[in-house]
């Protein structure tokens, strides 16, 4: 995980990275824009029996069957309440199939330079969910939790 972060940092020296800021309950999360393939509206999700609890099912995205995960359930928050603002962000990691994640709202795209990103405090390992984070970004007067996408989508069920 460290290595990946280091490599990512190398790419952005001086420039900063773009993140899509999404809302989940009262918190703001940032998703590295390079992973984002698409953002679609909430649509009919077909349930998959006996899948991991945080997988809501699959959707049909232009003829492709794409699994959809609830970030809320993954992070142990209240189950999703679908509203008009609910979106499914389609993530396309490099050598893996696409996957959708459900968020309450997509807010904006921000560019964070390196000095606006703080590394997560890895010493504080009691927090299980620290592994999903790649840092904390300071944007304006708010804070954005930056998601470590590969560990969010690949990690086995934690709690």
């Amino acid at each position: 995980m460290e290595d990946i972060n280091d490599i990512q940092n190398l790419n952005v020296v001086g420039e900063g990275k773009q993140y899509i800021v999404v809302r989940l309950g009262n918190e703001q999360y940032g998703i590295d824009i390079k992973y984002v393939d698409n953002i679609v509206r909430q649509q009919r999700i077909t349930r998959i029996p006996s899948a991991q609890h945080y997988f809501k099912g699959v959707i049909n995205l232009r003829g492709e069957v794409i699994p959809v995960m609830s970030l809320r359930l993954k992070f142990g928050l209240e189950p999703d309440e679908y509203t008009n603002a609910t979106r499914i962000i389609i993530i396309k990691p490099e050598s893996q199939a696409a996957i959708g994640i459900i968020v309450d709202e997509v807010k904006e795209v921000v560019t964070l330079s390196l000095d606006e990103i703080e590394k997560p405090n890895t010493a504080d390992s009691n927090d299980v969910q620290i592994q999903y984070l790649s840092g904390i970004g300071k944007h304006g007067d708010g804070l954005v939790t930056l998601l470590n996408i590969s560990s969010v989508i690949n990690e086995k069920e934690s709690a």
Binding site: I48, P49, A51, Q52, N60, V65, P67
Partner: protein, 715 residues
């Protein structure tokens, strides 16, 4: 020049040529006099040699070259095909296949020289030339010899000339000079011209050899006169040469200048220029030293040449080892060779699609009153076009099973030798088509079954005779299409499986208890063969019988969505019947509703659909069963299994879909039937760890997703 872009073509074509070789070797083994086969082999070996040479695969080139030589001798009737020769040829073929495998993996041919095979081939060829001395062209045949000097056997015949000439690389020294030529030389010398011998080496990677040679000629002709070329100019133009050619050249320019001119042509590895005739001998003494100074590379050759020439040849081969070694890993993609006709059909359909689209566009812009009927018509048209399009695209994925089974005759031949049993393989239905994905996977299981038949299925020859059967055992491989399935049958006319022996073995191994064994039907006993690590072979051979076998075959075939069963009759033989879906990507399925969810059940596994009144459901050991025309079938409540929210209405009877796997059945309880539909299977992906029940998903006409139930895992 980078040849990696040709790698795929090379691999494809090499496979084809190897297959030809294999087939024809089988033919000449049976009919040693068959000249058509010999010619065919000669051609295939020749093409292979050329291709391997182009790609810089020297070892492959050498081996095929030696094969070609042998067949050259057979063609000119200096020798006959002998069983020993066929054996060597088959070994050579294996070696070539190994090279190809290496090329597939690493883009290089590897380090294996297969010296022994080459030597055997050469000694066979040499024997032939020796024996048929008068008819054969003299070993020191002037023109072709230098061009083909890479084989060690030849280099020995050549040694007489080349060792006298100094460097083995200066092949121009081998060009014979007649007395008449000398007068020309003298005349030229008088007029102040120099006479040089030139040997030009093209780079191993050079593709357009003839074109490069032409450039060399053109450059040289500007400065002087090409007196003689070996191979002949015509042959060079036709690219009938290896990687080098030699010339005798008259010019007033200096040796240095000539060399420089030739080497300025691209893709020339090296040009060796030197005086010819009497002067050559005088120069010889100085040559090693002079060359050492100006070109350290050549220095390696000079001393080598002074040793025995036979030694020089392998050394040269080693020197040329490196080409393409650094080429990036090829990651050769999976390709399908498509019949051009199939593509034409696709193209036509696409144009029809465009016409249909235009039709709809024109309707939408025209008067509203005629819209209705016109639109419907266009939609129907569109529908038929898309259906055809869909079918054609699927056909493109289909590959005849031939590409898998054509290695089997060879395999059975080898097995026959190894096991010392006479046997014959009869194949039918090689043209039956299967989806590419299935074809890729089906080879190993079939091979396994055939080995099984050869090793265990057929009795020893004397046993067969004792039983009054003909001595030669028969193995059959039949493939044919049956509705949505392709059936492949591997059959032998051997002793059949001794069911009692299997039963006893199962008890000994503790697979089943004696009580169980007593009540199990023959069929159930035979099914035990498919259990992991169950082998009844009394002796373990290296052909089969290690106990890893049928279970692996079964797993693989089930993984492909197919099934396998075994039928056997004592004294008649046994057969393994494999049923595979024609294509994995599209299947016929029954659409069902469970609660509010839609599922698809592959039609292939469905036996019947029954309406069962509630009262007919009985409980046996706390499990629901129904008695259907005398068979007790367990019921599976899909809604509970799939954790579906129950529907609100209570039906009076149960709709039960009876599915079958092998000879076991189960009844799936569904809420509603939605008819039959052709569905496209989409994978769900690696993220979701869903139960084995779901084998994939499909997208319905309205954009919804239905999950596909894997009936095999339910039964």
């Amino acid at each position: 020049m980078d040849v990696s872009q040709y790698l795929e073509i090379f691999i494809d074509e090499t496979k084809e040529h190897l297959q030809t070789l294999s087939d024809q070797f089988m033919v000449i083994e049976q009919e040693p006099e068959n000249m058509d086969a010999v010619n065919e082999i000669f051609r295939a070996a020749h093409s292979l040699k050329g291709m391997a040479g182009t790609m810089g695969f020297k070892r492959m080139q050498r081996l095929t070259h030696d094969m070609e030589n042998v067949f050259q001798e057979i063609r000119s009737e200096n020798m006959k095909v002998s069983p020993e020769l066929v054996d060597v040829l088959f070994r050579g073929l294996d070696a070539l296949e190994a090279y190809l495998a290496e090329v597939l993996e690493t883009a290089t041919e590897g380090e294996e020289d297969n010296e022994e095979i080459c030597n055997t081939l050469n000694s066979i060829a040499a024997k032939a030339t020796g024996k048929g001395g008068d008819a054969a062209p003299a070993p020191a045949a002037p023109a072709p010899a230098p061009a083909e000097s890479s084989a060690p056997a030849e280099s020995s015949t050549e040694s007489s000339t080349s060792s006298a000439g100094g460097s083995a690389k200066a092949k121009y020294l081998d060009i014979p000079i007649a007395d008449a030529d000398r007068t020309t030389f003298d005349k030229a010398k008088d007029s102040g011209q120099n006479i040089f011998g030139i040997t030009v080496y093209l780079q191993d990677s050079c593709i357009l050899k003839a074109a490069r040679a032409f450039l060399v000629f053109k450059a040289l002709e500007e400065l002087g006169e090409v007196f003689r070329a070996v191979p002949s100019v015509q042959d060079i133009e036709d690219e009938k040469f290896e990687s080098d050619f030699s010339l005798i050249y008259l010019t007033s320019e200096s040796q240095q200048k000539v060399k420089q001119v030739i080497e300025s042509v691209s893709e020339i590895k090296e040009a060796i220029v030197g005086p010819v005739g009497e002067e050559a001998k005088a120069e010889e003494e100085k040559a090693p030293e002079a060359e050492k100074k100006e070109e350290p590379k050549k220095a390696e050759n000079a001393p080598a040449a002074s040793q025995a020439a036979a030694k020089a040849a392998p050394k040269k081969a080693k020197e040329e080892k490196k080409p393409a070694a650094k080429a990036a890993k090829p990651a050769v993609g999976r390709t399908v060779r498509v019949d051009i006709e199939k593509l034409d059909v696709l193209m036509n359909l696409v144009s029809e699609l465009i016409i249909a689209k235009n039709g709809i566009v024109s309707i939408s812009t025209s008067d509203a009153s005629i819209n209705d009927s016109g639109l419907n018509e266009q939609i129907e048209y569109l529908e038929s076009v898309t259906t055809n399009l869909h079918e054609s695209v699927m056909k493109v994925r289909m590959v005849p099973i031939e590409s898998v089974v054509n290695i089997f005759p060879r395999m059975i031949r080898d097995l026959s030798k190894k096991l010392g049993k006479k046997m014959e393989l009869h194949m039918s239905g090689e043209e039956t088509e299967l989806d590419r994905t299935v074809i890729d996977e089906i080879g190993d299981p079939l091979q396994h079954l055939l080995r099984n038949s050869a090793d265990h299925g057929l009795e020893e020859n004397d046993e067969r005779i004792a039983l009054g059967n003909e001595e030669v055992g028969n193995i059959y491989l039949d493939a044919y299409q049956e509705g949505n399935n392709v059936t492949i049958e591997v059959r032998d006319d051997g002793a059949g499986i001794n069911i009692e022996k299997v039963r006893q073995k199962a008890i000994d191994k503790g697979t089943i208890s004696e009580e169980q064994a007593a009540i199990m039907s023959d069929k159930e006993i035979i099914d035990l063969l498919f259990r992991p690590s169950f082998s009844t072979a009394e002796k373990i051979t290296d052909v089969s019988g290690r106990g890893v076998g049928l279970d692996v075959v079964k797993t693989k075939i089930e993984g492909l969505g197919g099934s396998i069963e075994c039928k056997t009759e004592i004294g008649e033989g046994s057969s393994f019947i494999i049923r595979l879906p024609v294509t994995l990507a599209i299947i016929q399925a029954l659409m069902v509703e469970i609660g509010k969810e839609k599922y698809a059940i592959p039609l292939g596994s469905i036996e019947t659909i029954e309406d069962v009144p509630f009262d007919d459901v009985k409980l046996v050991q706390m499990k629901e069963v129904i008695n259907l025309r005398g068979t007790v079938i367990p019921l599976i409540r899909l809604d509970r299994l799939l954790e579906v929210e129950p529907g609100d209405f209570e039906p009076e009877s149960l709709t039960v879909v009876i599915v079958r796997k092998g000879d076991r059945q189960a009844g799936l309880v569904v809420d509603n039937l939605n008819g039959q539909q052709e569905i496209v299977i989409k994978p769900i992906g690696e993220y979701i760890h869903c139960s084995k029940l779901i084998s994939g998903a499909t997208i319905l006409g309205n954009g919804d997703i239905a999950l596909i139930l894997e009936a095999n895992t339910l039964v």
